[in-house]
């Protein structure tokens, strides 16, 4: 045991300190800065006003994903405001010399999908992006978190971020997931257990046998929604699966550098004897498929559970929150959620749009039809995933089932690009947020896994995938 055992969170933090001063936050070096069209224009304007260049364009990568349509790429962007924003991203990337995976680029995709896909995200890195789901990259053992636009400007200008150290929070998940239970259900269960503010001020480290058993894509799903439990970042120590995933990817180290990198990455996992500020355990064996019923991701239940009753809650503000949530969702306290009629199914987002997610959805939809009353959208996370899915024939499965097979982007997760719910509609969505209006003004969202979403699409109602035989 080392004399000063440290968590992986502490190790990554320590190795990135550029300057420390009493009474001020630490100055942290940033290894990878991902940029997209929505939260960066005002930061680039700031650089122009200052007359400052991007310090490390070689560590900065830009794409467009949030406000881009998912209709065929040969069509123009019809929304003039979105078109202006996308054009501005392109101008900014050109003016400041930043590598750019543009709208027509074959590597375009959701920023948190293309980072790992291209080997940009690596263990031990600090990764930031003006997007709260940057935590996704923590799946590789990187310290990755979302920042605001002022901080985007700071990192562009200096490749550094002023940052106060967060507390450490171990989320230990031991056991084996049952059939039909997925990575998405682990993170929804965490949100339900500790609440949407439960991890505020903390960085999660996900540990335990159930986490080790997850694939890299499943680990990304878990880390992605750390912010939904209040934590700015969530990470998983790298292991052989991590190295295997990265090896040979475009920006991953090659040759001798690869060996050096792996040797370094092997020093990252938390030392025996290191302690955390907080901890929680989740028993994977007893997990059920999870689904949200309310207006924040902490309002989740097992798929066959009952919608909670506000009358059973002592705290008046919490009781009122639940009452308002059920009113917005037009759901009855105490009733089951399974069997609730739905209008839309969305399979996509930085949480669940990777090839394994699409395969899972296709495994349910193969040989079946989606309900005539349900619009089903399948939106791959990147153009590369789209090509892969088409090579495997998954798009034919989706189309034969009556689902729409669309182009890559954030799409109906954030409803900025025209893909949205109408007021009053219900969706089962594989995305990460069920806030009021998140998928379109007046829309009502149930968050769930790709398996649950696909099963619900077939039945036209919220459905436990295990009941489909």
């Amino acid at each position: 045991m080392p004399s000063n055992p440290r968590t992986i969170i502490q190790k990554v933090w320590d190795s990135h300190i550029v300057a420390e001063r009493e009474g001020a936050p630490s100055l942290l070096f940033i290894d990878l800065h991902l940029v997209h069209e929505v939260t960066s224009p005002q930061a680039f304007s700031g650089l122009r006003q200052r007359g400052v260049k991007v310090r490390r364009p070689d560590l900065t990568f830009a794409t467009v994903d949030h406000s881009t349509p998912t209709t065929p790429r040969n069509l123009p962007i019809l929304d003039p405001i979105a078109a202006t924003q996308v054009a501005q991203m392109e101008t900014n990337a050109q003016d400041f010399g930043i590598p750019y995976f543009g709208f027509q680029n074959r590597d375009q995709g959701i920023v948190h999908v293309i980072g790992p896909e291209n080997g940009l995200t690596q263990p031990g890195m600090t990764v930031v992006c003006g997007d709260s789901h940057t935590a996704t990259h923590g799946a590789f053992g990187a310290l990755a978190f979302g920042i605001g636009t002022s901080e985007v400007e700071m990192v562009l200008a200096s490749q550094c971020l002023l940052q106060k150290k967060s507390k450490s929070f171990e989320v230990r998940v031991d056991g084996a997931l049952k059939n039909g239970v997925t990575a998405k259900d682990i993170i929804l269960a965490l949100c339900a257990k500790i609440g949407i503010g439960g991890g505020t001020g903390c960085v999660f480290e996900f540990t335990g046998s159930a986490i080790r058993a997850l694939s890299m894509e499943e680990r990304m799903t878990v880390c992605n929604m750390s912010i939904e439990a209040g934590a700015r970042a969530g990470l998983i120590a790298p292991d052989e699966k991590t190295y295997e995933y990265l090896k040979g990817r475009r920006f991953a180290p090659k040759g001798e550098k690869w060996d050096e990198a792996v040797a370094y990455w092997k020093t990252l996992p938390t030392d025996a004897g290191a302690t955390y500020d907080h901890s929680v355990t989740i028993d994977a064996d007893s997990l059920e498929p999870m689904i949200t019923f309310g207006t924040n991701p902490g309002m989740g239940i097992a798929i066959n559970g009952a919608i909670p009753d506000p009358a059973g809650i002592a705290d008046p503000l919490e009781r009122e929150s639940l009452r308002k949530a059920l009113q917005y969702m037009a759901l009855e306290a105490g009733a089951p959620l399974a069997g609730q009629k739905i209008d839309v199914v969305f399979i996509g987002s930085c949480t669940n749009s990777r090839i394994s997610d699409l395969r899972a959805a296709a495994s349910v939809l193969k040989g079946r039809k989606v309900s005539a009353s349900v619009r089903t959208l399948v939106v791959p996370g990147s153009q590369e995933i789209k090509r892969q899915a088409e090579a495997e024939g998954l798009h034919e499965v989706f189309r034969a089932a009556g689902a729409e097979w669309r182009e890559a982007g954030c799409s109906m997760c954030i409803a900025m690009n025209g893909d949205q719910l109408s007021p009053g509609q219900y969706s089962v969505s594989t995305s990460n947020r069920n806030f009021e209006g998140r998928q379109g003004k007046g829309g009502r969202t149930f968050l769930a896994s790709p398996l649950t979403a696909a099963a619900s699409a077939v039945m036209g109602v919220v459905t436990d995938v295990r009941t489909l035989v």
Binding site: T39, F145, Q159, G197, F251, L317, S321
Partner: protein, 199 residues
């Protein structure tokens, strides 16, 4: 930084940034005009007319500098448009029992004070407002004290660096850029010791 104001209450827990400013307004490439979009979906009818009963549409709220809300204010997305919209509306402080991390950072960078109070003080202020909706609060960042008409003087915590930046109007990016020698030294020692991106 010292101000006195009536209080605008939106008493709900977990008010997320999608409520503070819905995503469809994030297609802008500037910071302008966001105050009118603050709490848009709670504030306006489907035809775009203001809902007269919603608090932000009252003259009293429009003149107010302090928003008083429930626990975990500003959770969700990292959009800095949220504090931009709040400050453009006229708020200089939000009082809550806790704030989401990214929102808190974004607020401090825009001279919007996230003022954290205990559950007890939160309840006391709610009770006081129930008895006297027109009471005023006064906030003093220098002394880290806030109080209200007929209420106790309550000390609040603020990170010393954030306080310094608020009071002195420090440009944080300018401050960071002064560290050029340290940044260059760090970069020099990192090359070859840790992996770098292949090109």
């Amino acid at each position: 930084m010292k101000f006195e104001s009536t209080v605008t209450q939106i008493q709900a827990d977990n008010i997320d940034t999608d409520q503070i400013i819905p995503a469809r307004f994030l297609k802008t490439i500037s910071k302008d005009g966001l105050g009118d979009q603050l709490f848009f979906d709670w504030r306006y009818n489907a035809d775009g007319s203001p809902k007269p009963e919603f608090i932000l549409n009252t003259d009293k709220a429009k003149a107010s500098k302090v928003l008083f809300a429930g626990d975990n204010f500003g959770c969700g997305s990292s959009r800095e448009h949220a504090p931009w919209a709040l400050t453009q509306y006229g708020f200089q402080a939000v009082i809550s029992t806790s704030f989401a991390d990214i929102f808190k950072q974004n607020s401090l960078k825009n001279r919007l004070l996230p003022l954290v109070v205990s559950r007890d003080v939160h309840q006391q202020l709610r009770d006081a407002l129930a008895a006297n909706p027109d009471l005023t609060v006064s906030v003093d960042v220098e002394t880290q004290i806030f109080t209200w008409t007929g209420g106790p003087a309550v000390a609040f915590a603020i990170d010393p660096f954030a306080k310094h930046c608020l009071l002195a109007g420090v440009d944080e990016i300018g401050y960071v850029l002064q560290h050029e020698p340290q940044i260059a030294a760090y970069e020099a020692q990192r090359i070859g010791t840790l992996n770098t991106l292949a090109s």
